[in-house]
Amino acid sequence: MMIRPYGDTLNDGAVQMSFTLPVAHSAKADEAAILFGKKLGFKEVEVVHSNPLSDEFTFFVVYGKTEISIDYDKVVVEEVEKSLDFYGVNNFIKENIKRKIVVVGACSGTDAHTVGIDAIMNMKGFDQHYGLERYPMIEAFNLGAQVPNEELIKKAIALKADAILISQIVTQKDVHIQNLTEFIELLEAEGLRSKMVVCAGGPRIGNKLALELGYDAGFGRGTYPENVASFIVEKMHERGVK
C-alpha cells in the first residue's frame, strides 16, 4: 500500500513545517522560504506566517504538498514488543528463575539527569506504573546520576547484578554515544558482557541504536518500568540463567 501525508483528502500529501532562516524579515525572505520549500520537493508551497526573530533571523510557518509516497508494506522496524505487567513479571521470575534478580541502574558518565532512571527504578514509578524498587522479586539499586562507568561496573559486580540499566538524557554533540560505547567496551574487557543483560534508555535512544552499540535492548520515550523488567526476565530465561 502506497501512502502519503494526509491533510483533508487522501493522497493530498499536505505537510506543515516551521523553520528559521538567517535573514532579516522581508518580502524577499518570504520568497526565499518558498523557494526552500520547493527545493525540498514540495509543490504549492505557501508561507502562511512569517515573523522577525531579530534583525538577522526570520521565522516561517509553511505548508506544502508532497508527491513522495512510501510503500507501507515494505516498512520494517525492530521493536521491543509485548510486555508482561507488574504481576506477570514477578510470577515469571518465581516460576522460571526461582530467586530474586538484581538490577543495577544509573545515569552514567557526566549526565546529571536522573529523570529517566528514576522513572524506571524509583518505588513511585511513573505515570501510575510502579518502578522496579517496588517489585517483590527484583532487588533494584538506583545509583543515581554522574556515576563513572568504571564505578557502575564495580558496583554491578559487588551487587552480583543480573542486569544493568544505563540512562542517557543529554545527547548534545553525541556525548551519549561515546559514553554508551565506553561502557560496553569496559564491560567486555572485564569479561562480563555475556553474563548480564544490559539495556540503555533515554528519550533519544531507540532499540535500533542500542543494538548497534552492543546492548541487549534500548528503551526510548514512553517506556514503562514493566517493559524493561519484562525484557530483562525473558532475556535471562532465554539465556538459561538460574
Binding site: 531579530s54 534583525d55 557526566t110 546529571a112 546520576a145 520515550r221
Partner: protein, 525 residues
C-alpha cells in the same frame, strides 16, 4: 498583594516560620564552627587571587592545597603575609604562585600588619561590589517601565560562550528580561572553578569569571540598544557555591541559583559541606544585591506534584530561614516552585493555581520564581504550547516575580531560536491580555482552591514538625526530602570541611557579617 484570596490562617503561617527557625538553628551552630576549602578559595578570590598555573590548576586551589589542614586558621593570613613580605600586588603574587611559590614556607610578619593590609583589601573588594550594586540600581530604575511583570526568564545553553552571546542577545531583543546561561553538565561536582573563556561544554557552558564578564558586557550593550536592563543569571550550587557567588558579585550578575539543600539532594554533595558553603554564598549574594533562586521545582521532578506539594512549601520556608540567617532580605529571595502536575488530573489547574497563590500570599515580598512544565512534556509540541499558556496564566494571575518560560520543545532538544520566540510571544499575549485579572477576581469561600491551600499548609506544618523532631540532618538521611537518602558522612566534598581553630581569621567573612547585621546562633538568647 492586596488582600488574601485564599483566606489562609496567619497563625499557621507564623507557626511554620517558627518551626523553620527551630529546624535551622542547630545547623547554624554547625556552620558557625566550620570553614571549607570553597570558603577559603572564595576569600582568596576576594583578595585578588586568580589565574591558573601551567597545567590549569586555579591559583586559589593551589594556595588552599598548600595550606592543607591549616585552613582551620583561614587562608587569608597566608596570602596577605606573602603580599607584604614580597612587596608585590596580587597579580604579581599570582604569577609567583603559578610558578611554584609555596605560601606556607614564608615567615610571618607581625599580625598587626596583616590586619592593616586586610582592611585595605576588604575595602577594595567592598568598593567594587558596591559600585556594581549602584550601577544596577541606576539602570533598573531608569528602564523600570520596560520590564515585564513577572520578569521573563530565558535560558541559553550552547556550550560555547560566544554562541551563547548571540542567542542571549537575540532572546533579549525578543523580550526576555532575564538571561540564564545554563552550566555544563557536571560542573557542580568540580571542586574548582575553571578559568577563562570556554567554547566547549555539554548541555551548557562552564561558569567562569571570564564567561561572566563576556556575557555581562554583551547584555549591557543590547540593553542600552533596546532601552532595558537585562538581568544575567548563573548557578551557584555544587561544590563551589561561594566561589561562584563572588565571581558573580564582581562581574555584576543579577541572580544566582542558590538553594540551601539542592546540592545535597540532587547532586549528592555532602550535607555538612553544603550547609557551610551555602551560608557564605548567600552572604555574598546579599551584599551584592543578587536575587537568589531556590530549587524547589526539583522536588516535583522526582516526586508527585499533587501528593508532595507540601515538600515544596516546607522547603520554601526552610530556604527562607537559611536566607535570613545569611542576611538576605525577602526582596532578594526568588523562592522556587513549579507547574508539574499531571495534565490529565481533573481540576489540576485549580490545584496548581492554589499552590502558586499560596506561595505568593505566604511570601509576599519575595520575587517568586515559577518553573514551567517539564515532566509531562512529551514531544507533542502543540499540547506543550497549550500547557505553557496555562502555566503563564497562573504566573500572571498569582503575581509571580520571575517567570521561567516554558519551551514547546521541552523534552525534544535544546531550544531553537524560534522556540524562545514562541515562548515570549505566548507569555506577552497572556501578560497583556490579563494584565489586571488578579486584582479583579476573588476566590470562592471554601471552594476547591481555598480548601486545597489549607490542606497543603496543614501538611507542611506536619512535615516541618516531623523534621524538627528528628533534626534536619537526620531527616535528609532518612529520605524525608525528595525520596532520596543522603547519609551524613556520604556524598562528595566532606573532606573539604574543617573545624575552625580558636584563632581562625577571615576578615571578609567578619566584614560581611557586620554589613549584613547577622547575629550568630551562638550569640542568640
Amino acid at each position: 498583594m492586596t488582600k488574601s484570596k485564599l483566606n489562609l490562617d496567619t497563625d499557621k503561617i507564623a507557626k511554620a516560620r517558627e518551626l523553620s527557625k527551630q529546624i535551622t538553628a542547630p545547623v547554624q551552630k554547625y556552620i558557625e564552627k566550620h570553614t571549607t576549602v570553597a570558603i577559603e578559595r572564595t576569600t582568596l578570590r576576594m583578595m585578588g587571587a586568580d589565574g591558573v598555573d601551567s597545567i590549569g590548576v586555579p591559583i586559589p586551589n593551589k594556595v588552599v592545597d598548600q595550606i592543607g589542614d591549616h585552613i582551620c586558621y583561614g587562608a587569608t593570613k597566608y596570602y596577605i603575609n606573602a603580599l607584604l613580605k614580597k612587596g608585590v600586588t596580587p597579580e604579581e603574587l599570582n604569577i609567583e604562585i603559578a610558578n611554584g611559590l609555596d605560601l606556607t614556607k614564608i615567615d610571618f610578619v607581625d599580625f598587626s600588619y596583616i590586619e592593616e593590609k586586610a582592611q585595605e583589601l576588604v575595602e577594595a573588594f567592598a568598593t567594587k561590589v558596591k559600585a556594581n550594586v549602584a550601577y544596577r540600581a541606576e539602570k533598573v530604575n531608569k528602564y523600570k517601565d520596560q520590564e515585564n511583570a513577572p520578569l521573563l526568564y530565558l535560558i541559553v545553553a550552547t556550550g560555547n560562550i560566544f554562541e551563547d552571546v548571540k542567542q542571549a542577545q537575540a532572546a533579549a531583543k525578543q523580550g526576555a528580561d532575564i538571561i540564564a546561561v545554563i552550566r555544563t553538565t557536571g560542573q557542580s561536582l568540580l571542586d574548582f572553578v575553571p578559568f577563562g573563556p570556554t567554547t566547549e561544554g555539554f548541555g551548557g557552558t562552564y561558569a567562569t569569571q571570564e564567561n561572566f564578564k563576556i556575557m555581562r558586557k554583551a547584555l549591557d550593550e543590547t540593553g542600552e540598544e533596546i532601552g532595558k536592563y537585562i538581568r544575567l543569571v548563573n548557578y551557584c550550587s555544587g561544590l563551589c557555591m561561594p566561589e561562584i557567588a563572588v565571581m558573580g558579585a564582581l562581574e555584576r550578575l543579577d541572580m544566582m541559583l542558590n538553594d540551601s539543600m539542592y546540592g545535597i539532594l540532587f547532586r549528592d554533595i555532602n550535607m555538612y559541606r553544603t550547609f557551610v558553603d551555602q551560608k557564605f554564598s548567600r552572604m555574598i549574594n546579599s551584599f551584592a544585591g543578587i536575587v537568589i533562586n531556590s530549587g524547589e521545582d526539583n522536588y516535583l521532578t522526582t516526586s508527585d506534584a499533587v501528593e508532595k506539594a507540601y515538600t515544596v512549601t516546607a522547603s520554601q520556608f526552610i530556604n527562607e530561614r537559611f536566607a535570613y540567617e545569611s542576611g538576605l532580605p525577602a526582596k532578594l529571595m526568588g523562592l522556587g516552585h513549579a507547574f508539574e502536575m499531571n495534565p490529565d488530573i481533573k481540576n489540576g489547574f485549580l490545584l496548581e493555581m492554589a499552590q502558586a497563590q499560596m506561595a505568593s500570599e505566604i511570601f509576599p515580598e519575595a520575587p517568586l520564581k515559577y518553573m514551567p512544565p517539564t515532566k509531562y512534556m512529551t514531544g507533542d509540541i502543540f499540547k506543550g504550547l497549550a500547557m505553557n499558556t496555562l502555566f503563564n496564566f497562573i504566573a500572571k494571575s498569582t503575581n509571580q516575580g520571575i517567570l521561567l518560560l516554558g519551551m514547546l520543545t521541552e523534552a525534544v532538544h535544546t531550544p531553537f531560536m524560534q522556540d524562545r520566540f514562541l515562548a515570549v510571544a505566548n507569555a506577552k499575549y497572556v501578560l497583556n491580555n490579563m494584565a489586571d485579572f488578579s486584582d479583579d477576581i476573588e476566590f470562592k469561600k471554601d471552594g476547591i482552591m481555598q480548601t486545597r491551600a489549607k490542606v497543603v499548609l496543614d501538611e507542611t506544618i506536619e512535615f516541618l514538625e516531623e523534621i524538627n523532631k528528628t533534626d534536619l540532618f537526620n531527616a535528609i538521611e532518612s529520605k524525608m526530602f525528595a525520596e532520596v537518602s543522603r547519609p551524613k558522612n556520604g556524598g562528595k566534598g566532606l573532606s573539604g570541611v574543617a573545624e575552625k581553630a580558636q584563632d581562625y581569621y577571615n576578615p571578609f567573612y567578619t566584614y560581611l557579617e557586620k554589613e549584613l547585621n547577622i547575629v550568630k546562633e551562638g550569640n542568640k538568647l
